[in-house]
């Protein structure tokens, strides 16, 4: 069962600033409770299969120059901080 404390803990780990964690409790609890249906799927013995991509199928690990000059957008310095670009 999901508690306010768990939501506080998860939101801290996910770095989300929430004023009132209890505001999220009801809906998150309903969502997670619905996921309990997975317990009755009878899939415990199932082996998870993942799609495989062979190394030969991957593109070469090589430098591809970017036509834009992104570095020019890195012009916001505040003291020792570099203010990241807004891409605009």
């Amino acid at each position: 069962m999901v508690t306010v404390e768990e939501i506080e803990n998860v939101s801290k780990l996910m770095k989300i600033d929430i004023d009132d964690h209890s505001e999220y409790l009801d809906k998150v609890k309903k969502m997670i409770s619905y996921f309990d249906i997975l317990d009755s799927a009878g899939v415990e013995s199932e082996e998870i299969s993942m799609p495989e991509i062979s190394i030969e199928s991957l593109r070469k690990d090589e430098f591809i120059p970017f036509e834009g000059k992104l570095i020019e957008k890195m012009n916001h310095y505040k003291g020792t901080y570099v203010h990241a670009p807004k891409m605009s």
Partner: protein
């Protein structure tokens, strides 16, 4: 009088023959947008250079220069795909001022073909939703009845096509986000085989299952669009080689002798009687065309929604971690904040649904919970894939209603997340298993549309489009009157 209701293929033919000028068509389209957007809110931004681009194309056409296959066709693009030097918000306040520095692969491919991107389409924030109510910029409205949701998350795309604000649109489909709004707005909505279209430049939600696809007036138009945007892309290692398949060729082949499985698990509890009736009518029509229809059960469908939301929330939690106001974000001063608290503060710009999914995305794969939720969800995904592969040994195609219910009123389900989840029950299977699926407009009941979904085995997209075209030809539907 300019006919904005023509299909993509008709537009191409007319523009190629000089029967319509691109400038006139784009001008009328912009007038149309201007007259209906207040009521529909399908678009988040409009291309203010569209008319200039149209004039340039007209010049090229008149001077006999080579013109791309789209001939200036106005296309709307879901606002989670990057168009270089264009605002790409993902319907989020977090990306309110984000100008994409590059083109998504699908955009590059359509630019080469001289498409005109008429506007960026509204959507649920970061594609998390199925009604477009979770857009940070307000919901889109269903053009069939503006008190009703248009579906989502590609709601703006479906609305813009069905209300003649463009000729075609691109959306993305993670759990039905193309097919659901297509069904609710009476357009064709097509999710191709996973990997058939590059996702490079698509803002990520759940990479392992999402796909870009077209929303169009006709099935032939979807095949036409697929011809332009499908294929392998070195920037997306999940793309597959389709050997330049021509999806329009032989689209009239029909479905005589094809075996179609009726997925009983998608027509059970909770289905609206009108939707059930429409589905049975569609099955009869297919049988009338010579298809052989039999029932088939996919037992894991019952668990598919829970598996889908567990997997997508987990991937979303990871994908959204990049929104830290360092690489993407908005202006607010760093002074007075410790590093982590600065990031947390910035993330207040996520809307409530995205925040909820991030919480769930942190919860379900965490130590102590992963075995109960995430690993089981992955096992359900695996077993569902086995079941559907087994079904495709017997059947060429599978059929079910796209959405088990009719469009509902704006706000009606927004406070009941599980009720909203279950609207996805017929669409998530195609995403979890990577299969192609399409929603075909089939019936209008009490002024609201119903779509029928067909699915095929992976890479059988051509067969799927042929069958969808055959079904489409059996009905004549009214157009929106707005």
């Amino acid at each position: 009088m300019m006919n904005l209701k023509i299909s993509a293929l008709e537009f191409v033919e007319e523009a190629k023959n000089g029967n319509i000028s691109v400038e006139d068509f784009i001008g009328k389209t912009l007038e149309r947008i201007d007259s209906v957007e207040d009521k529909l809110h399908a678009l988040l931004s409009i291309n203010d250079k569209a008319l200039d681009q149209a004039r340039e194309l007209d010049k090229k056409i008149k001077s006999g220069e080579d013109v791309g296959a789209c001939f200036g066709m106005p296309i709307s693009i879901k606002d989670n795909m990057c168009i270089k030097n264009t605002k790409t918000t993902c319907a989020s306040k977090m990306l309110e001022n984000f100008i994409a520095p590059y083109d998504a692969t699908v955009i590059s491919k359509l630019k080469i073909q001289d498409a005109i991107f008429i506007g960026k389409a509204n959507m649920d924030e970061f594609a998390m939703g199925l009604t477009t109510e979770f857009s940070a910029y307000g919901p889109s409205k269903n053009p069939w009845n503006t008190e009703y949701v248009p579906g989502g998350s590609s709601g703006g795309s479906a609305v813009s096509v069905s209300s003649f604000e463009c000729v075609a649109s691109l959306g993305s489909d993670t759990g039905g986000s193309i097919r659901n709004p297509a069904s609710f707005c009476s357009t064709v909505g097509y999710k191709p085989t996973y990997g058939l279209i590059s996702r490079y430049g698509l803002i990520s939600y759940a990479n392992s299952i999402e796909q870009i696809g077209p929303l169009t007036r006709t099935v032939k138009d979807s095949a036409f669009m697929l011809n332009l945007i499908a294929g392998i892309d070195p920037n997306d290692d999940t793309t597959v080689n389709n050997n330049n398949e021509d999806y329009l060729a032989n689209i009239d082949s029909g479905i005589e002798g094809k075996k179609i499985g009726i997925i009983t698990d998608m027509m059970g509890d909770g289905i609206d009687p009108e939707v059930l009736t429409a589905t049975k009518e569609a099955i009869s029509k297919l049988e009338g065309l010579g298809a052989v229809c039999e029932e088939v059960s996919l037992e894991m469908v019952k668990y598919s929604v829970a598996a889908y939301y567990t997997i997508t929330a987990t991937e979303a939690g990871s994908n959204l971690a990049r929104y830290d106001n360092l690489r993407y974000g908005y202006d607010f001063p760093v002074e007075g904040y410790e590093f982590n608290s600065y990031i947390s503060k910035a993330r207040r710009n996520f809307g409530p649904e995205v925040t909820r999914r991030m919480i769930i995305g942190g919860f379900v794969p965490s130590a102590g919970h992963a075995g109960k939720y995430f690993l089981k969800a992955m096992k359900v995904k695996t077993k569902l894939t086995k079941e559907i592969n087994e079904a495709f040994k017997k059947f060429d195609l599978l059929i079910a209603p796209t959405v088990p219910v009719l469009p509902f009123k704006i706000g009606e389900k927004i406070d009941d997340p599980v009720s909203l989840f279950l609207i996805d029950i017929n669409t998530v299977t195609a995403n979890l298993t990577g299969k192609p699926a399409i929603s075909i407009p089939f019936k209008i009941v009490n002024g609201l549309p119903i779509g029928i979904q067909l699915m095929a085995n992976s890479m059988n997209d051509k067969l799927l489009l042929q069958a969808a075209h055959a079904l489409e030809k059996t009905v004549t539907l009214p157009e929106v009157t707005i």
